[in-house]
């Protein structure tokens, strides 16, 4: 319907920009919660491009792939936040520069 009147490249460009914002957020922030949210941002950017390709190629496989990505994102958020909770219990730290046990 309406979506096909916009060139496919626009969707891919939007997806790329949001993905890169997620990458930059992951690299520059100190707070681990924001870093996890940046990962969610990247996964969502990929979802946008998959749905756009699915619409333009008239194939539902791309949208099925989005389901699996959402599943993995939910699992990743649950595990990541559980790791964060146990880290906070042991060290009371959420900043990456305070976690220096491995002397990296």
């Amino acid at each position: 319907m309406g979506g096909a009147m916009v060139p496919l490249e626009w969707y891919i460009g939007l997806s790329a920009v949001i993905f890169i914002i997620g990458v930059a957020g992951f690299m520059i922030r100190k707070n681990i919660i924001i870093m996890l949210m940046s990962i969610e941002l990247m996964l969502n950017a990929v979802n946008i491009s998959l749905v756009a390709f699915s619409h333009y190629l008239q194939d539902l496989r791309g949208q099925v792939m989005v389901f699996f990505i959402i599943t993995v994102a939910a699992a990743e958020a649950a595990i990541g936040l559980a790791i964060l909770v146990s880290l906070f219990k042991n060290k009371a730290a959420v900043h990456t520069d305070e976690i220096i046990e491995m002397k990296g």
């Binding site: 009147m5 939007l14 890169i20 990458v23 924001i34 194939d59 496989r61």
Partner: protein, 168 residues
């Protein structure tokens, strides 16, 4: 013209919201901006004729994952967070790296060639309804990955409980 204006609004707002997510000092504000961003992504899915995915986006991302983030943020000391430095010292390197990868993506975007279109035209999906069409593909062609997805969720449940429980 109108679809392009519509897409332009979505693109500008979504990029601004993603920038807000990664730059806000208070993590609660970041989560709330991300909530607005997810609603916009759901709107874009509706625009691309993916109604079921739009509903899943709102129910799962906005309803479950973001609430999980909010719960965890409530456990942390926000007073300290509001005065601490937000970015690492080497942040210009991170931004430069991001911009260079973005350049690479935009240069390679002109080389995209799409394959032959599939059988699910908009009319075919409309005749069958979107949820039924996607369910058919999911439960026939992708049945095995679907089972693996359930296993991944099981591992997530067990792992989260094991990691978060008190040390015995």
């Amino acid at each position: 013209m109108l679809p392009k204006l519509f897409f332009g609004y979505f693109a500008i707002v979504m990029i601004a919201l993603s920038l807000a997510v990664i730059t806000r000092r208070n993590p609660v504000h970041s989560v709330l901006w991300m909530l607005v961003l997810f609603f916009h992504i759901a709107g874009l899915y509706l625009f691309l004729n993916a109604e079921f995915l739009a509903a899943v986006q709102i129910i799962l991302y906005a309803g479950a994952i973001l609430v999980l983030f909010l719960f965890v943020i409530m456990m942390f000391n926000l007073k300290e967070e509001l005065t601490a430095e937000r970015f690492i010292g080497e942040w210009p390197i991170g931004v430069a790296l991001g911009i260079s990868i973005l350049m690479l993506m935009f240069f390679s975007m002109s080389k995209i060639t799409t394959g032959p279109p599939g059988q699910y035209t908009i009319e075919a999906i409309k005749a069958e309804t979107h949820t039924k069409a996607i369910g058919k593909v999911l439960y026939t062609e992708y049945l095995f990955p679907f089972e693996i997805a359930s296993l991944i969720l099981l591992i997530a449940i067990v792992g989260a409980i094991v990691l978060a429980k008190k040390r015995g």
